[in-house]
Every structure is written in C-alpha cells, then in structure tokens.
Amino acid sequence: MTDVFAPKDQQTRELEVAGVKVRVSSYAIRDRFSARVENLDPGTVIGKGSGKTRDEAEAKAIAGATPGIEASAARAFFHRSTAELKGSEDSQ
C-alpha cells in the first residue's frame, strides 16, 4: 500500500524582492512546509525552499531567488549605462 499524503494550507502572495515583483507560494507537506518563488512574467520558478515553518521555507526560497534577481538588475543597469554612453558618444 503506497504511503500517500495531501498538500495543505496553500498560500500565494506577491511581494517585492530586490525591487522586482515575485510570487511566493507555499504549502504544508506532512510536518514541513515547501515554498517557491516565481517571477511574475513569464512565471519561472527562481527559488525553492523547505522548512519546519512556512516562514522558514519562504525565507529559504527568497534567499535562493535573490542573487539571481540582483544579478539581473545589475546586468540591466549595465546595459542601460552602456546604451547611454554610446548615445552620448554618438552625439559628440
């Protein structure tokens, strides 16, 4: 007989991580909680975590997602800066 269980207490909310809106979903599996962080568009999972409490699971998932989001923001800043520099060079 397969040992089965059901996920419970699912919650989803949006919040900002490093200036980017993300979706945080979490649910209870047996005696632990599992959490995912997704970017809103296109909806990719960018962080995962689990823990004894929902807060712990979500904190781990957010910690997992943060470096990638910060790196994306840094690259976007770099691209904008480069474009602005090229624009100012062209106008000289």
């Binding site: 397969t2 040992d3 269980f5 599996i29 296109p42 960018i46 994306s72």
Partner: protein, 278 residues
Amino acid sequence: MSSYAHPQTLVDTAWVDEHRDEDLRVVEIDVDRYSYEEGHIPGATAWDWSRQLADQRTRDILSKAQFEALMGNAGITPESTVILYGDNNNWFAAWALWQMKIYGHKDVRLMNGGRKKWLAEGRPLTLEEPKIARAKYVALDADTSLRGLLASVRERVAADKIHLVDVRSGPEFTGEILAPPGLPETCQRGGHIPGASNIPWGMVCNDDGTFKSRDELVALYREQGVTGERPVVTYCRIGERSSHSWFALKYLIGWEAIENYDGSWTEWGNLVGAAIER
C-alpha cells in the same frame, strides 16, 4: 463551442487521480528533481529536464538511441499510455511531449494544469518511487517536420514563408531585457526575430494553468494574424516555453504545420550576421 482538435492529448487532474492505479506511465518533468522528491503523484517517475531531456554535450534534443534508453528505463514501450506533468506550468512536460512526438510515440498526454493544479486541489502525493521494470523501446526515426532548425528557419524568414510566434514576455520581445528576472542571460542581443508576433505562452492558459478553449485559442492567435494558413514556428529563449505553445497550436487548435524552433533566441540572438528587430 468547438472541441479540441486532438482531445486525447490532454487529461485533467481528476482523470489522472481516478486512473493512476491502472497501467499508465506517469512521469513528472521539472528542471531538476527537487519538487519530485518533495512529493509526487503516486506511481510517477521523474525526468530531470536539464540532464535527461537534452544532450548537454551537443546542445541538442536526444538522439534516437538516447530517447530509446530514456523510455526503456522508465518502463515505457511504444504501446504505453504516458501521462506527463510538471513544474513551471508544464513547460518541461510539453518539451518532453514534443520529443516523444518527434520519435513517434502514439499515446502521450499532458495533465492539464500540471503539478501546480494537482497541489492546489489537495490531491495525493507520495515520497515512494515506483519500482520500474525496464522495457524495450524501438522508436521511429525523428519526425523533423515538428522541429525548426536554424538554416531552414532563417531561409523561410527571409522569404516570408512562415509565421513566427515569439512566446517570451513583452520586455524580452522588445529587447528591454535579455532574460526573465532571476535567470541568466544567454544571448548577446535583445530583441526578436524579424517578423515575429509576440504571443506570450501564458496567454494560452487560464489562471489555474489549464489551457483555454479551442475557440479562445484560435481567437488569440487570429488577433495577431496567425491563422495556420502558413506554417507556424514557435520559439522562446531556449525552446521549452515554446513547446508549450507548440502543443496548443498543434493538438488543441489542430493546425497542421507547427514547428518548435528550440534553438530559439539563445541561438538567433547570438548569431553573427542575423538581423533582429526591437
């Protein structure tokens, strides 16, 4: 309201729950095994998309021999009914289905709504991995009509012979960003393939991740001039979001000439000498 062109390629969560003790092969496909190991549909095995559904050395789909080995190890024969589902709104499950169709598997179905819907409905999970008896799988030769390759796509773009559907987000399409937030940039340039229409993958789904009706899908694509009268080629960043839209166009709407260009923007955006639009 019209029915899906090939309704047998889609099953709902209730059906899978009801039939999971029957002779099905249920496979969860995610970017890795993390979610599967937290709990999966009883009886399901797992495929790791990044390691098992692509040739990492050549950046290609599986060879016929690799595909046969994957199927055999999962206890799948050419006669098996295979149900695929997964994380990320079934993107990777759709990628697996696309390859199974390339190699001629007859009965493979997506579970509508994927893992997210199964969890949202509080359906049963287990940690137990099924004991699988290896099977012999003889695949058909690859059906290349389902796949867009660079040379062919490039030639037909130049001749305006295809309708390209870019399923990435708006900011990716315009080149405002080179990758979705949190993901690595894999190309030198931002923008899209000249002439492409931007119909993001999420527009083919309802809020719960299930596919929209056939009528809604047809209207969605027709609004952007995609009618199926010319071959349609879907692409995204690396080919897995676009396989989700490929499935909707090919099996739910039922237009014939639908290809997934899996080289996608990672390939085109890095090409020397290939024009782009922003």
